[in-house]
Symmetry: C2
Subunit: 264 residues, 2 copies
């Protein structure tokens, strides 16, 4: 596989890639480049993984070219893929394939890194045409780390995650903000498991989500508009329940599809 790997940005994901690679290939040589450290340490690596938040990855990407070994493959783990793909396309001769492991944890940071973080989790790869050999090597790498490669265009990835990841995060935070503001401590005290589940994500800090939203703002804006329309449909017919009828019926069907897709 790869004998020398460089990981640029060592948080939960970067650290877990290092651990999973060391678990799979005890002899692999892994170079970690922390934020603020010089990028020249990637010299000699056959695979470079950009594992910081998306805007930092894009900045790192532009520093890479003079230091890359001939034939080196560059990938990343950013939560959005169109912007970094465009930045990579602007660098002549760069062998870049975008990636996004759909794995995470409420507790981030390298201290929580785990070799099994990617086991059986989707790992999206967004190649541009003409990198077939590099793509095959990267796919094999993902599988060896325990992940399940899903290959799709950067545009489709960004559309999917706007709906199934970014919108749920913004919704959970908005809901917790509103429920707390309206009910106060005394109201939260009588809340049941429903509010807990629905706001599990609301402990997230804004930092990384500002990057994600900024680099996916058009698709996320569409997703928010669609959610607001569904809320308005129910809001405008609370007395008759017509909106609740149609939204709940659709929701229950999709919930079943979601549960089914993660059972098999």
């Amino acid at each position: 596989m790869f004998e020398r790997i460089a990981i640029v940005g060592v948080g939960l994901i970067g650290g877990s890639i290092a651990r999973a690679a060391a678990r799979t290939w005890p002899a692999v040589e892994i170079t970690c480049v922390e934020a603020g450290e010089g990028i020249e340490a990637v010299a000699g690596a056959e695979l470079v993984v950009l594992a910081a938040p998306v805007l930092a990855n894009i900045a790192r990407l532009t520093e890479l070219p003079p230091h890359l070994a001939p034939g080196a493959i560059v990938t990343d783990v950013s939560s959005t893929k169109r912007l970094i793909a465009a930045a990579a396309a602007a660098i002549p001769g760069l062998n870049f394939i975008g990636g996004h492991p759909m794995a995470g944890s409420a507790d981030g940071g390298a201290g929580n890194a785990r070799a099994d973080l990617f086991d059986r989790r989707p790992w999206i790869l967004t190649p541009t045409a003409g990198h077939t050999d590099a793509l095959q090597r990267l796919e094999a790498f993902v599988i060896a780390l325990g992940g399940v490669p899903h290959i799709m265009a950067a545009e489709l990835h960004d559309r999917f995650v706007a709906a199934v990841s970014h919108l749920p995060q913004l919704t959970a935070s908005a809901l917790m903000h509103v429920a707390g503001s309206l009910a106060g401590d005394a109201g939260l005290e009588i809340a049941g498991a429903g509010l807990h589940d629905t706001t599990r994500l609301a402990a997230s800090a804004p930092g990384i989500w500002k990057d994600i939203a900024a680099t996916n703002h058009d698709l996320l804006r569409d997703a928010i508009d669609t959610l607001v329309a569904a809320l308005q449909e129910m809001r405008d017919t609370l007395e008759t329940g017509d909106g609740i009828d149609s939204v709940f019926t659709s929701a229950a069907r999709w919930k079943e599809a979601l549960d089914r897709s993660h059972r098999g």
Copy 2:
């Protein structure tokens, strides 16, 4: 305590009250009145519990007076409290104290009834002035069944549950509807734990929620408007992240308050 109890409407909550009462007082006489059965069976009961959905409870309430034993206390378990309180106030001499055990389960129905359903869960009581003796007996009843009485006005109850129960349910259903519609099966396949948690409630059927929304439409409409405003604030500043900053910061604080209130 009470030697004869009538439970009108026997689903998860009514069935669990029957089991919890039988666990606590093996000699208690419990009469169950199913939907469609004659209300005259409540004759002789010292406590009548209306345990159907809210609109059915209100209909039953109006049938009660000719059959009630002298001094009988009437309570209910409806998810909203203002409308049934108003209906009770219109019946001269009725000894009614509204109630709402904040307990439930994804799997409803009498078949899932459990004696421990109310253990350590809040059980809200919404007395109107002047029922002090009845209120004390009902509080003792709730405590004996394992619940924790919270006494508040019907109006405050309805305001609290609009924020911490009704809004989360409508939001979870709207989110699942939108995420499924936008991402489809292929998009749901790459979803992580976040979407699962946030949409846990989205399997709910519309029926009971139409009743709840209809009887709390004014406060629920305000809550939806506040949520939509928070979503719009983030939507209009996705490039800068200003809205995300303020909503996420508030949300994380309230999330901590929510977790804290359920730890003690």
